[in-house]
């Protein structure tokens, strides 16, 4: 690997830079799917990188670090939602596309509809859906990331897919 230390491993600073380069944007987008707004998502992901830095000596490997980042981003996103209190009363600022001539208003509206629909799902369903369809994680990886059984992943996935199906019929 690049920028390795004497023993061929990254130090914590290098690990943060490397992981940032490869995964920051995707993790922020993942968190946007969970919390609904970019500013909160950035905060969640930055906190997660700081946490990863502190644990690098235990993680040591990029794969483990990525798994840790994912888990931390999901947990912190959920924590943030809880801090907002009654979620149904909180309307996060819309994830506004930069207004541009090429941006179809209908497309922007559809994107917001998807985020709104996700926000109405129970926490676990939303998380399973985001990890499955955005990050393409396997059922086993989702189970590990969320600390739940594979059976639970399956049932959350099917319920969430059923709920979102209704939405898709409206927008697709």
């Amino acid at each position: 690997m690049r920028a390795a230390g004497r023993d061929g491993r990254w130090d914590a600073d290098t690990a943060v830079e490397q992981m940032y380069g490869g995964h920051y944007r995707a993790l922020v987008r993942l968190s946007v799917l969970l919390v609904g707004d970019v500013e909160s998502a950035e905060e969640v992901v930055q906190d997660s990188f700081v946490a990863m830095h502190g644990r690098w000596a235990a993680l040591k490997e990029p794969d483990k670090a990525l798994a840790y980042l994912r888990q931390t981003v999901v947990n912190r996103s959920r924590s943030l939602l809880r801090h907002r209190g009654v979620r149904s009363r909180y309307t996060p600022p819309a994830v506004a596309d930069r207004p541009g001539a090429d941006e179809d208003a209908l497309v922007a509206e559809r994107r917001q509809l998807v985020l709104d629909a996700l926000r109405r799902l129970p926490d676990r369903q939303r998380e399973v859906i985001a990890l499955r369809y955005y990050l393409d994680l396997s059922e086993a990886d989702i189970a590990e990331t969320l600390g739940i059984s594979r059976g639970a992943v399956k049932s959350h996935a099917s319920r969430a897919a059923a709920a979102l199906r209704t939405l898709m019929e409206d927008v697709s």
């Binding site: 946007v32 502190g54 794969d63 798994a67 994830v95 559809r110 994107r111 926490d123 369809y133 639970a152």
Partner: protein, 333 residues
Amino acid sequence: MNRADDRDDKLDGKLDGKLDAELRDLLRDAVSRVEPRHGIDAIRSRTAAPRARRSWAWAAGGAVAATAATIAAVSLLSTGLGTSNDVRPAPEPTGATPLRTVSVYFVGDTGGGTRLFSEQRRVFAPVALQEALADAVQGVTFDPDYTSPWPSGEMLRGARMRQGVIAINLDARAATRPQGMSLGTAKAAVQQLVLTAQSATRHRYPVRFLLDGRPTATVLGLRVGHEVTGRRDDSVLAAVSIRSPAQDATVGSPFTVTGQAATFEANVQWELTQGDTVVRRGFTTARECCTLSPYSFKVSAPPGVYTLVVHDEDASGGEGVGRSVDTKSITVR
């Protein structure tokens, strides 16, 4: 709805390719225009702590420890509040992100003085010791009745397990007992870290305390000697405590309450209350009398938000609860 439900068994990657593909497209598209601001500088400025704090050996200090605490806290909430599918603890994962269920101890008031109560949480296994101790020292509790006896979350500098000994490194200020801390609380504080560390490492190894990396014979003004062993009797642990449900848990009905108690004739009394109203009450007995032993009972209640109160017998024979009590806020769905 039903059509999707019928496909439960095929959800692992193979289901209805069309539905999968559509969901994938929709989700990706929903965030496709999200371009985060450049965040690396903000991250770097926070990870560029003083060099001394960086070494792995004592990597639990400062902001990083606070982060750990939050993650750990969230892990428990997620097991405590999930749907019925989640309530059963998942098997210990064996892959890249092993989670470990640990007991973190806190102090609480009982009729007998300051005693320890524990809360379960799932933490990232490679750093379970550091995360559990950080929560303990910083008082990251779910139950508002519990707290940390330590004067500051900064007191913990780090911890590690090596060759049959758990070493806990504290700030040098931890040598003396802060003004206003009782002897009993100091003793509880030391045992709090010992029991938490033993749970986190899954080894009942003795604990050696260090101050700023150097051996010490004194912690919080107590002589701790070379090593401290964990004590699990009712001189240290609360005489009555609830293990599950956890604080703020959502449960079905009926639900099972478990915990441990050391009470006269093993009697354990309980109430389920809403405000001043007692909705249900009952009693049970712990497995053994007069020493800490497990109890368990079932409660049925209509949906609602309740306070579960478990306590020993009211020795006064009059009003109010007994000398040792634990409470949890729970939701029955």
